[in-house]
Symmetry: C2
Subunit: 218 residues, 2 copies
Protein backbone atom coordinates (compact mmCIF):
# COMPACT_ATOMS: atom_id res chain seq x y z
CA UNK A 1 0.00 0.00 0.00
CA UNK A 2 1.43 3.31 -1.11
CA UNK A 3 0.50 6.64 0.42
CA UNK A 4 0.92 9.82 -1.61
CA UNK A 5 2.85 12.76 -0.20
CA UNK A 6 0.72 15.50 1.31
CA UNK A 7 1.64 18.91 -0.04
CA UNK A 8 0.07 22.34 -0.04
CA UNK A 9 -1.98 21.65 -3.14
CA UNK A 10 -3.49 18.23 -2.36
CA UNK A 11 -3.97 18.66 1.38
CA UNK A 12 -7.62 18.38 2.46
CA UNK A 13 -8.64 20.71 5.27
CA UNK A 14 -11.13 18.30 6.82
CA UNK A 15 -8.61 15.61 7.81
CA UNK A 16 -11.16 12.97 8.82
CA UNK A 17 -12.54 12.89 5.27
CA UNK A 18 -9.15 12.77 3.57
CA UNK A 19 -7.21 9.82 2.21
CA UNK A 20 -3.89 9.81 0.41
CA UNK A 21 -3.85 6.05 -0.02
CA UNK A 22 -3.17 5.12 -3.63
CA UNK A 23 -5.51 2.10 -3.61
CA UNK A 24 -8.42 4.21 -2.36
CA UNK A 25 -7.74 6.82 -5.02
CA UNK A 26 -7.44 4.28 -7.83
CA UNK A 27 -10.63 2.48 -6.78
CA UNK A 28 -12.68 5.69 -6.91
CA UNK A 29 -11.19 6.62 -10.27
CA UNK A 30 -11.98 3.17 -11.65
CA UNK A 31 -15.61 3.37 -10.54
CA UNK A 32 -16.32 6.79 -12.03
CA UNK A 33 -17.72 7.34 -15.50
CA UNK A 34 -16.76 10.92 -16.18
CA UNK A 35 -14.14 13.28 -14.82
CA UNK A 36 -14.30 17.04 -14.62
CA UNK A 37 -11.13 18.69 -15.88
CA UNK A 38 -10.26 22.27 -15.01
CA UNK A 39 -7.62 24.40 -16.69
CA UNK A 40 -7.04 28.01 -17.44
CA UNK A 41 -7.69 29.57 -20.86
CA UNK A 42 -6.73 33.21 -21.41
CA UNK A 43 -6.89 33.66 -17.63
CA UNK A 44 -10.38 32.20 -17.30
CA UNK A 45 -10.98 28.88 -15.56
CA UNK A 46 -12.66 26.26 -17.74
CA UNK A 47 -14.29 23.10 -16.38
CA UNK A 48 -15.32 20.33 -18.75
CA UNK A 49 -16.69 16.80 -18.33
CA UNK A 50 -14.56 14.13 -19.98
CA UNK A 51 -14.39 10.38 -20.30
CA UNK A 52 -11.09 9.00 -19.11
CA UNK A 53 -9.05 5.91 -18.48
CA UNK A 54 -6.38 4.89 -16.00
CA UNK A 55 -3.20 2.86 -16.43
CA UNK A 56 -1.22 2.49 -13.19
CA UNK A 57 -0.56 6.00 -11.89
CA UNK A 58 -1.60 7.84 -15.06
CA UNK A 59 -4.98 9.24 -16.01
CA UNK A 60 -5.63 9.71 -19.71
CA UNK A 61 -8.18 11.87 -21.50
CA UNK A 62 -8.61 12.17 -25.24
CA UNK A 63 -10.17 14.46 -27.75
CA UNK A 64 -10.02 15.92 -31.23
CA UNK A 65 -6.78 17.77 -31.89
CA UNK A 66 -8.70 20.82 -33.05
CA UNK A 67 -10.51 21.54 -29.77
CA UNK A 68 -9.66 24.51 -27.57
CA UNK A 69 -9.12 22.19 -24.63
CA UNK A 70 -6.54 19.99 -26.28
CA UNK A 71 -4.74 22.90 -27.91
CA UNK A 72 -4.34 24.31 -24.39
CA UNK A 73 -3.58 21.18 -22.43
CA UNK A 74 -0.96 19.82 -24.80
CA UNK A 75 1.22 22.82 -23.99
CA UNK A 76 1.87 21.32 -20.58
CA UNK A 77 -0.23 23.59 -18.39
CA UNK A 78 -1.51 23.06 -14.85
CA UNK A 79 -4.74 21.07 -14.70
CA UNK A 80 -7.02 19.68 -12.04
CA UNK A 81 -9.11 16.57 -12.55
CA UNK A 82 -11.98 15.60 -10.26
CA UNK A 83 -14.01 12.40 -10.19
CA UNK A 84 -16.96 12.33 -7.80
CA UNK A 85 -19.25 9.42 -6.99
CA UNK A 86 -22.44 10.51 -5.23
CA UNK A 87 -23.66 7.84 -2.80
CA UNK A 88 -26.54 9.50 -1.01
CA UNK A 89 -28.32 12.48 0.47
CA UNK A 90 -27.64 13.11 4.14
CA UNK A 91 -30.69 14.68 5.76
CA UNK A 92 -30.09 16.14 9.19
CA UNK A 93 -32.46 17.76 11.67
CA UNK A 94 -30.96 21.15 10.80
CA UNK A 95 -30.50 22.39 7.24
CA UNK A 96 -26.99 23.38 8.33
CA UNK A 97 -25.91 19.77 8.82
CA UNK A 98 -27.36 18.49 5.57
CA UNK A 99 -24.69 16.87 3.47
CA UNK A 100 -24.01 14.30 0.79
CA UNK A 101 -22.34 10.93 1.03
CA UNK A 102 -19.72 10.83 -1.68
CA UNK A 103 -16.33 9.54 -2.74
CA UNK A 104 -14.24 12.05 -4.62
CA UNK A 105 -10.71 12.29 -6.02
CA UNK A 106 -8.80 15.39 -7.01
CA UNK A 107 -5.64 15.20 -9.07
CA UNK A 108 -3.48 18.27 -9.51
CA UNK A 109 -0.67 18.30 -12.00
CA UNK A 110 0.73 19.33 -15.30
CA UNK A 111 -1.11 17.87 -18.25
CA UNK A 112 1.15 16.62 -20.99
CA UNK A 113 0.61 15.38 -24.50
CA UNK A 114 1.28 11.67 -24.98
CA UNK A 115 3.71 11.47 -27.89
CA UNK A 116 4.81 7.85 -27.64
CA UNK A 117 2.69 5.84 -30.12
CA UNK A 118 2.47 2.72 -27.95
CA UNK A 119 1.48 4.66 -24.84
CA UNK A 120 -1.11 6.56 -26.87
CA UNK A 121 -2.60 3.32 -28.22
CA UNK A 122 -2.73 1.77 -24.75
CA UNK A 123 -4.37 4.95 -23.40
CA UNK A 124 -7.10 4.83 -26.06
CA UNK A 125 -7.76 1.19 -25.16
CA UNK A 126 -7.93 2.16 -21.47
CA UNK A 127 -10.38 5.00 -22.13
CA UNK A 128 -12.72 2.78 -24.18
CA UNK A 129 -12.48 -0.10 -21.73
CA UNK A 130 -13.05 2.23 -18.79
CA UNK A 131 -16.45 3.08 -20.26
CA UNK A 132 -17.21 -0.60 -20.90
CA UNK A 133 -14.63 -3.24 -19.94
CA UNK A 134 -13.67 -5.39 -22.91
CA UNK A 135 -15.27 -3.12 -25.49
CA UNK A 136 -12.09 -2.20 -27.39
CA UNK A 137 -11.63 -5.77 -28.65
CA UNK A 138 -15.23 -5.85 -29.89
CA UNK A 139 -14.79 -2.81 -32.14
CA UNK A 140 -13.35 -2.70 -35.60
CA UNK A 141 -9.66 -1.82 -35.60
CA UNK A 142 -8.67 1.81 -35.19
CA UNK A 143 -7.46 3.38 -38.43
CA UNK A 144 -4.31 5.45 -38.78
CA UNK A 145 -6.45 8.45 -39.69
CA UNK A 146 -8.43 8.12 -36.47
CA UNK A 147 -5.29 7.84 -34.38
CA UNK A 148 -3.87 10.92 -36.08
CA UNK A 149 -7.00 12.98 -35.42
CA UNK A 150 -6.96 12.17 -31.71
CA UNK A 151 -4.86 13.74 -28.99
CA UNK A 152 -4.23 11.99 -25.72
CA UNK A 153 -3.33 13.96 -22.63
CA UNK A 154 -1.92 12.41 -19.45
CA UNK A 155 -1.92 13.49 -15.83
CA UNK A 156 0.11 11.67 -13.21
CA UNK A 157 -1.74 10.63 -10.05
CA UNK A 158 0.79 12.08 -7.66
CA UNK A 159 -0.48 15.37 -6.24
CA UNK A 160 -3.79 13.72 -5.47
CA UNK A 161 -6.18 12.99 -2.66
CA UNK A 162 -9.48 11.28 -2.00
CA UNK A 163 -12.21 12.93 0.03
CA UNK A 164 -15.10 10.79 1.22
CA UNK A 165 -18.12 11.00 3.46
CA UNK A 166 -20.30 8.11 4.49
CA UNK A 167 -22.87 7.28 7.10
CA UNK A 168 -25.55 9.11 9.00
CA UNK A 169 -26.03 12.85 9.57
CA UNK A 170 -24.13 14.43 12.44
CA UNK A 171 -26.48 16.81 14.22
CA UNK A 172 -25.86 19.16 17.11
CA UNK A 173 -26.20 17.24 20.38
CA UNK A 174 -29.35 19.06 21.49
CA UNK A 175 -31.08 18.48 18.14
CA UNK A 176 -31.34 14.70 18.58
CA UNK A 177 -34.28 15.31 20.93
CA UNK A 178 -36.27 17.06 18.16
CA UNK A 179 -39.17 15.62 16.22
CA UNK A 180 -37.60 16.16 12.80
CA UNK A 181 -36.98 13.12 10.61
CA UNK A 182 -33.31 12.50 9.82
CA UNK A 183 -31.51 9.84 7.86
CA UNK A 184 -30.02 9.12 4.46
CA UNK A 185 -31.40 8.51 1.00
CA UNK A 186 -29.07 6.26 -1.01
CA UNK A 187 -28.30 7.20 -4.59
CA UNK A 188 -27.31 4.63 -7.19
CA UNK A 189 -26.37 4.89 -10.83
CA UNK A 190 -27.65 2.05 -12.94
CA UNK A 191 -27.21 0.77 -16.45
CA UNK A 192 -30.47 -0.03 -18.20
CA UNK A 193 -30.99 -2.65 -20.85
CA UNK A 194 -29.00 -2.13 -24.03
CA UNK A 195 -30.95 -0.72 -26.97
CA UNK A 196 -29.95 -1.83 -30.47
CA UNK A 197 -28.84 0.84 -32.92
CA UNK A 198 -31.70 1.56 -35.37
CA UNK A 199 -29.39 0.57 -38.17
CA UNK A 200 -28.02 -2.62 -36.59
CA UNK A 201 -27.98 -5.44 -39.11
CA UNK A 202 -30.34 -8.31 -38.35
CA UNK A 203 -29.05 -11.22 -36.32
CA UNK A 204 -26.25 -9.41 -34.45
CA UNK A 205 -26.50 -10.20 -30.74
CA UNK A 206 -25.51 -7.72 -28.04
CA UNK A 207 -21.79 -8.16 -27.43
CA UNK A 208 -20.39 -9.85 -24.29
CA UNK A 209 -19.00 -6.63 -22.73
CA UNK A 210 -22.46 -5.09 -22.74
CA UNK A 211 -24.29 -8.22 -21.64
CA UNK A 212 -22.03 -8.35 -18.61
CA UNK A 213 -23.35 -5.06 -17.20
CA UNK A 214 -26.94 -5.06 -18.48
CA UNK A 215 -29.70 -7.44 -19.32
CA UNK A 216 -30.35 -8.78 -22.82
CA UNK A 217 -30.94 -6.17 -25.51
CA UNK A 218 -34.49 -5.14 -26.33
CA UNK B 1 -38.14 32.14 -24.36
CA UNK B 2 -34.85 33.94 -23.86
CA UNK B 3 -31.68 33.08 -25.69
CA UNK B 4 -28.33 33.98 -24.15
CA UNK B 5 -25.78 35.94 -26.13
CA UNK B 6 -23.03 33.86 -27.71
CA UNK B 7 -19.60 35.22 -26.93
CA UNK B 8 -16.06 33.94 -27.17
CA UNK B 9 -16.20 32.26 -23.79
CA UNK B 10 -19.53 30.39 -23.95
CA UNK B 11 -19.49 29.47 -27.64
CA UNK B 12 -19.53 25.72 -28.24
CA UNK B 13 -17.47 24.52 -31.18
CA UNK B 14 -19.79 21.68 -32.12
CA UNK B 15 -22.81 23.82 -33.04
CA UNK B 16 -25.29 20.97 -33.41
CA UNK B 17 -24.83 20.05 -29.73
CA UNK B 18 -25.09 23.60 -28.44
CA UNK B 19 -28.03 25.48 -26.97
CA UNK B 20 -28.12 28.98 -25.56
CA UNK B 21 -31.81 28.78 -24.67
CA UNK B 22 -32.36 29.84 -21.08
CA UNK B 23 -35.13 27.27 -20.44
CA UNK B 24 -32.94 24.42 -21.61
CA UNK B 25 -30.09 25.64 -19.40
CA UNK B 26 -32.31 26.09 -16.33
CA UNK B 27 -33.92 22.66 -16.77
CA UNK B 28 -30.54 20.90 -16.82
CA UNK B 29 -29.37 22.88 -13.79
CA UNK B 30 -32.54 21.99 -11.90
CA UNK B 31 -32.13 18.28 -12.60
CA UNK B 32 -28.50 18.03 -11.49
CA UNK B 33 -27.43 17.13 -7.97
CA UNK B 34 -23.90 18.45 -7.88
CA UNK B 35 -21.98 21.06 -9.81
CA UNK B 36 -18.26 21.17 -10.46
CA UNK B 37 -16.79 24.59 -9.81
CA UNK B 38 -13.42 25.63 -11.22
CA UNK B 39 -11.38 28.62 -10.15
CA UNK B 40 -7.76 29.57 -9.93
CA UNK B 41 -5.77 29.50 -6.69
CA UNK B 42 -2.18 30.78 -6.74
CA UNK B 43 -2.18 30.20 -10.49
CA UNK B 44 -3.34 26.59 -10.22
CA UNK B 45 -6.76 25.50 -11.44
CA UNK B 46 -8.95 23.91 -8.75
CA UNK B 47 -12.08 21.88 -9.50
CA UNK B 48 -14.45 20.94 -6.70
CA UNK B 49 -17.86 19.24 -6.50
CA UNK B 50 -20.50 21.37 -4.78
CA UNK B 51 -24.19 21.27 -4.01
CA UNK B 52 -26.00 24.27 -5.41
CA UNK B 53 -29.33 25.98 -5.86
CA UNK B 54 -30.87 28.23 -8.50
CA UNK B 55 -33.12 31.26 -8.18
CA UNK B 56 -34.03 32.79 -11.54
CA UNK B 57 -30.79 33.55 -13.36
CA UNK B 58 -28.49 33.05 -10.36
CA UNK B 59 -26.67 29.95 -9.18
CA UNK B 60 -25.72 29.82 -5.53
CA UNK B 61 -23.14 27.68 -3.76
CA UNK B 62 -22.37 27.76 -0.06
CA UNK B 63 -19.65 26.72 2.32
CA UNK B 64 -17.83 27.41 5.53
CA UNK B 65 -16.23 30.83 5.55
CA UNK B 66 -12.90 29.32 6.55
CA UNK B 67 -12.39 27.18 3.43
CA UNK B 68 -9.79 27.98 0.79
CA UNK B 69 -12.47 27.95 -1.87
CA UNK B 70 -14.70 30.55 -0.27
CA UNK B 71 -11.80 32.74 0.76
CA UNK B 72 -10.87 32.83 -2.92
CA UNK B 73 -14.26 33.08 -4.55
CA UNK B 74 -15.58 35.85 -2.35
CA UNK B 75 -12.91 38.14 -3.77
CA UNK B 76 -14.84 38.26 -7.02
CA UNK B 77 -12.66 36.07 -9.22
CA UNK B 78 -13.48 34.31 -12.49
CA UNK B 79 -15.16 30.97 -12.02
CA UNK B 80 -16.64 28.24 -14.19
CA UNK B 81 -19.45 26.00 -13.06
CA UNK B 82 -20.41 22.81 -14.85
CA UNK B 83 -23.39 20.53 -14.28
CA UNK B 84 -23.47 17.30 -16.28
CA UNK B 85 -26.22 14.69 -16.44
CA UNK B 86 -25.06 11.41 -17.94
CA UNK B 87 -27.85 9.69 -19.86
CA UNK B 88 -26.15 6.75 -21.49
CA UNK B 89 -23.20 5.04 -23.12
CA UNK B 90 -23.07 5.30 -26.90
CA UNK B 91 -21.43 2.21 -28.33
CA UNK B 92 -20.44 2.47 -31.96
CA UNK B 93 -18.90 -0.05 -34.33
CA UNK B 94 -15.60 1.80 -34.09
CA UNK B 95 -14.01 2.81 -30.78
CA UNK B 96 -13.46 6.22 -32.39
CA UNK B 97 -17.19 6.93 -32.56
CA UNK B 98 -17.95 5.81 -29.01
CA UNK B 99 -19.56 8.59 -27.04
CA UNK B 100 -21.86 9.40 -24.15
CA UNK B 101 -25.38 10.75 -24.17
CA UNK B 102 -25.41 13.68 -21.79
CA UNK B 103 -26.87 17.07 -20.97
CA UNK B 104 -24.37 19.58 -19.68
CA UNK B 105 -24.30 23.26 -18.76
CA UNK B 106 -21.29 25.52 -18.40
CA UNK B 107 -21.54 28.88 -16.71
CA UNK B 108 -18.65 31.32 -16.91
CA UNK B 109 -18.60 34.43 -14.81
CA UNK B 110 -17.32 36.29 -11.84
CA UNK B 111 -18.24 34.73 -8.53
CA UNK B 112 -19.36 37.23 -5.94
CA UNK B 113 -20.14 37.03 -2.26
CA UNK B 114 -23.82 37.48 -1.39
CA UNK B 115 -23.89 40.24 1.22
CA UNK B 116 -27.61 40.99 1.30
CA UNK B 117 -29.10 39.04 4.23
CA UNK B 118 -32.43 38.32 2.53
CA UNK B 119 -30.78 37.11 -0.66
CA UNK B 120 -28.43 34.95 1.41
CA UNK B 121 -31.34 33.38 3.30
CA UNK B 122 -33.25 32.69 0.10
CA UNK B 123 -30.12 31.16 -1.43
CA UNK B 124 -29.68 28.78 1.52
CA UNK B 125 -33.32 27.73 1.16
CA UNK B 126 -32.77 27.18 -2.57
CA UNK B 127 -29.66 25.06 -1.99
CA UNK B 128 -31.41 22.83 0.58
CA UNK B 129 -34.56 22.52 -1.50
CA UNK B 130 -32.54 21.78 -4.64
CA UNK B 131 -31.21 18.67 -2.89
CA UNK B 132 -34.71 17.71 -1.71
CA UNK B 133 -37.68 19.93 -2.62
CA UNK B 134 -39.55 21.09 0.47
CA UNK B 135 -36.84 19.99 2.90
CA UNK B 136 -36.02 23.47 4.30
CA UNK B 137 -39.43 23.80 5.93
CA UNK B 138 -39.04 20.39 7.58
CA UNK B 139 -35.81 21.34 9.37
CA UNK B 140 -35.43 23.20 12.61
CA UNK B 141 -34.91 26.93 12.07
CA UNK B 142 -31.46 28.15 11.09
CA UNK B 143 -29.63 29.88 13.92
CA UNK B 144 -27.83 33.18 13.64
CA UNK B 145 -24.56 31.43 14.42
CA UNK B 146 -25.09 29.01 11.51
CA UNK B 147 -25.90 31.86 9.13
CA UNK B 148 -22.78 33.70 10.24
CA UNK B 149 -20.53 30.69 9.69
CA UNK B 150 -21.77 30.19 6.14
CA UNK B 151 -20.73 32.06 3.01
CA UNK B 152 -22.91 32.14 -0.06
CA UNK B 153 -21.40 32.79 -3.47
CA UNK B 154 -23.44 33.67 -6.57
CA UNK B 155 -22.78 33.27 -10.26
CA UNK B 156 -25.08 34.82 -12.85
CA UNK B 157 -26.31 32.51 -15.63
CA UNK B 158 -25.38 34.81 -18.45
CA UNK B 159 -22.18 33.64 -20.11
CA UNK B 160 -23.59 30.16 -20.27
CA UNK B 161 -24.42 27.36 -22.67
CA UNK B 162 -25.88 23.88 -22.72
CA UNK B 163 -24.23 21.06 -24.60
CA UNK B 164 -26.21 17.89 -25.18
CA UNK B 165 -25.96 14.62 -27.06
CA UNK B 166 -28.75 12.12 -27.45
CA UNK B 167 -29.63 9.18 -29.63
CA UNK B 168 -27.79 6.44 -31.43
CA UNK B 169 -24.12 6.20 -32.39
CA UNK B 170 -23.05 7.82 -35.63
CA UNK B 171 -20.71 5.47 -37.42
CA UNK B 172 -18.77 5.90 -40.62
CA UNK B 173 -21.01 4.99 -43.59
CA UNK B 174 -19.05 1.89 -44.54
CA UNK B 175 -19.07 0.55 -40.96
CA UNK B 176 -22.83 -0.06 -40.88
CA UNK B 177 -22.23 -3.20 -42.93
CA UNK B 178 -19.98 -4.70 -40.23
CA UNK B 179 -20.92 -7.43 -37.78
CA UNK B 180 -20.14 -5.41 -34.64
CA UNK B 181 -22.96 -4.75 -32.18
CA UNK B 182 -23.82 -1.07 -31.75
CA UNK B 183 -26.39 0.77 -29.70
CA UNK B 184 -26.84 2.59 -26.45
CA UNK B 185 -26.92 1.62 -22.78
CA UNK B 186 -29.14 4.01 -20.78
CA UNK B 187 -27.85 5.28 -17.46
CA UNK B 188 -30.18 6.39 -14.69
CA UNK B 189 -29.58 7.80 -11.25
CA UNK B 190 -32.03 6.58 -8.66
CA UNK B 191 -32.94 7.37 -5.09
CA UNK B 192 -33.24 4.27 -2.91
CA UNK B 193 -35.47 3.92 0.11
CA UNK B 194 -34.77 6.33 2.93
CA UNK B 195 -32.87 4.87 5.88
CA UNK B 196 -33.64 6.22 9.35
CA UNK B 197 -30.83 7.83 11.32
CA UNK B 198 -29.56 5.36 13.95
CA UNK B 199 -30.44 7.92 16.59
CA UNK B 200 -33.89 8.82 15.28
CA UNK B 201 -36.40 8.95 18.12
CA UNK B 202 -39.11 6.30 18.01
CA UNK B 203 -42.33 7.12 16.21
CA UNK B 204 -41.02 9.78 13.82
CA UNK B 205 -42.20 8.99 10.29
CA UNK B 206 -40.17 9.82 7.21
CA UNK B 207 -41.01 13.39 6.21
CA UNK B 208 -43.17 14.26 3.17
CA UNK B 209 -40.31 15.69 1.07
CA UNK B 210 -38.47 12.39 1.28
CA UNK B 211 -41.52 10.20 0.80
CA UNK B 212 -42.21 12.04 -2.42
CA UNK B 213 -39.02 10.81 -4.07
CA UNK B 214 -38.53 7.42 -2.40
CA UNK B 215 -40.54 4.61 -0.93
CA UNK B 216 -41.39 4.34 2.77
CA UNK B 217 -38.40 4.28 5.11
CA UNK B 218 -37.03 0.90 6.22
Amino acid sequence: MKTLAVTKINKIRNAKRASYDENTIHTILDQGLIAHVAFSHDGDPICLPMVYGRIDDKIYIHGAKATRMFKQLKQGIPACLNVTLVDGLVLARSAFHHSMNFRSVNIHGTAHLVEDEDEKYDALVAITDHMMPGRWDECRDMTKKEANATSVIALTIEQAAAKCRSGMPVDDDEDYALDHWAGIVPITTQFGEAINDDQLRDGIPVSPSIEKITGPTR
